[in-house]
């Protein structure tokens, strides 16, 4: 019954999985661009962001058509709404990745310890963020209602790295303009990577709502 509709729901779900893959790739590449100053990674990040933007527009149009033509209800409605929100979160995550890539610049190599601490923390945040995005869309694929809690725990780790970056930056020599400029770029990079984690948490919460119909949604903005 309603086979065409089921096919459309399956197609929407497949789009989300593919977008999750692209978003995670964008974050990985952005991290590589940021801490390894790789031009290839920079190009790959922007290509992934552009790819995701196209997919985002297509998915939203498809959701609109499904809502208009199929008037989904109950779990179907929750699935379509989850797709709509997750679509947005993944697009935002990739956008943040592009922002991160744009901040890539080699450190002035003066405050060696601090530079290493900041770079390691950013790398950890980026890798964790990409992993969280993969985990969140995997939870969507498996209809896992417990993903929101796992992702919230991972997000704690991301936040902690970000705090470490902020503290370290406070300890560096603000009278060195070159160092100061690099540090402020890394401060922003930390902020955008922190938001990637928030988007993955949002995805997890939408999955929980989609599966249970119950969980309260607390959007982590960004």
């Amino acid at each position: 019954m309603r086979e065409g509709f089921q096919e459309e729901l399956d197609a929407l779900s497949a789009s989300v999985l593919e977008e999750g893959r692209v978003a995670a790739h964008a974050v990985s590449e952005a991290t590589r661009a940021l801490v390894d100053w790789s031009v290839d990674a920079f190009d790959a990040t922007l290509a992934a962001e552009a790819d995701l933007k196209r997919r985002y527009v297509d998915t939203e149009a498809h959701v609109e058509t499904v809502l208009a033509r199929q008037a989904p209800v109950a779990s179907d409605l929750r699935t379509v709404l989850a797709v709509l929100h997750i679509n947005r979160s993944l697009e935002r995550a990739a956008h943040n990745a592009a922002r991160v890539a744009h901040l890539a610049t080699p450190p002035p190599r003066r405050a060696l310890v601090e530079e290493a601490v900041i770079t390691d923390a950013l790398r950890a945040m980026g890798e964790r963020g990409a992993e969280m995005l993969r985990t969140s869309v995997d939870a969507f694929d498996r209809r896992d209602p417990g993903a929101d809690r796992l992702l919230a725990a991972l997000d704690e780790l991301v936040d902690r790295e970000n705090e470490k970056i902020a503290e370290t930056i406070l300890s560096i020599d603000i009278n060195d303009p070159e160092l100061r400029q690099w540090a402020s770029r890394m401060l922003f990079a930390g902020r955008w990577l922190e938001r990637v984690g928030d988007h993955a948490v949002n995805v997890g919460e939408r999955v929980t709502y989609m599966v249970t119909g119950e969980a309260p949604i607390v959007e982590h903005t960004g």
Partner: protein
């Protein structure tokens, strides 16, 4: 034609004005519009317990426990043959008119046993009006269609006023006020259905039951009837049977899902699966069978 069709206006078997067992005691003043009160806290109009129906000994519906609250629209949905019409007919004793039909269980109407032998079924059908799938006006004038019920029930004073009020309430007045003496059969299907609603309203009922009132109507007439249902809840309690899921989602405060169970003997019998607030039924129903039905995967 449905043998039960015209009974809203069926001639009384007792003399007009005969006091009936308490069913006439509820005054218009008692019906307060209760828009802001949560539906579960509103007055219980029908309290059905273990309601079932057999036709010639064969069970068609069993064990329905359902409360219907005042000043709200309750929708009955479910696959064909699950007993929606059978159940809605229990609410105004219309099954009394069907040969071979036997109702069991208890239906309390404002706390009184609807099936008490003391209760006058005519009074019941006056308080609890019914509108059917196919508009069924009499082959008489628009005016006479509305005036018929009040006339036979002895409500003869200010008849013109009564007709006008009923037509206004049914959102039909502006369309027919200049042609009240013309035949009702000259009206469009949607107008005829609103005429039948006006006819039910003219005898000052408390409840309006509607069995698929829009299934023969176009979308414009359907939305006129839906608007009407919503506006009626300030004074009346409305129960509708509908096959249109979106209609239930649009108009009903509460939705009851009925389905068919197959017993050990293989006999099919209607049951109430789930009743809840409509938004819940259409976003997150508790029962898998409801989910399968509302999402179009079964039934």
């Amino acid at each position: 034609m449905d043998p039960t069709s015209d009974s809203t206006a069926a001639p009384p078997v007792t003399a007009p004005g005969t006091p009936s067992a308490g069913l006439a005691t509820l005054s218009v003043e008692d019906r307060t519009a209760s828009g802001s009160v949560p539906i579960e806290e509103r007055e219980v109009v029908f309290d059905c317990q273990g309601v079932g129906v057999r036709y010639n000994g064969k069970r068609a519906l069993r064990d329905v426990d359902l409360r219907i609250h005042a000043n709200a629209v309750t929708a009955l949905i479910g696959p064909s043959g699950c007993g929606k019409s059978t159940f809605i007919r229990c609410l105004n004793r219309m099954n009394d008119l069907i040969p071979g039909a036997a109702v069991d269980g208890a239906v309390a109407y404002h706390g009184e046993d609807l099936y008490d032998p003391q209760v006058d079924p005519i009074e019941v059908r006056k308080r609890i009006g019914m509108v059917f799938q196919k508009p069924n006006p009499f082959p008489k004038s628009i005016y006479d269609n509305i005036a018929f019920g009040p006339r036979v029930l002895g409500m003869k004073d200010q008849l013109d006023d009564r007709v006008e009020q009923a037509l206004k309430r049914a959102a039909l007045w502006d369309e027919v006020k200049d042609r009240l003496k013309e035949g009702a059969l000259g009206l469009s299907g949607g107008q005829q259905q609103r005429l039948c609603i006006a006819r039910a309203l003219a005898v000052e009922p408390d409840v309006i039951l509607m069995d698929e009132p829009c299934s023969a109507l176009d979308p414009i007439s359907t939305s006129a009837i839906e608007d009407l249902m919503l506006s009626l809840t300030d004074e009346y309690t409305v129960v509708i049977v509908t096959h249109n899921m979106q209609q239930a989602a649009r108009v009903a405060d509460m939705t009851a899902f009925f389905s068919v169970d197959q017993g050990e003997t293989g006999a099919r019998c209607g049951v109430l699966v789930e009743v809840d607030r409509t938004e819940r039924i259409f976003t997150n129903p508790a029962n898998e069978r409801t989910e399968a039905y509302v999402t179009g995967r079964f039934g």
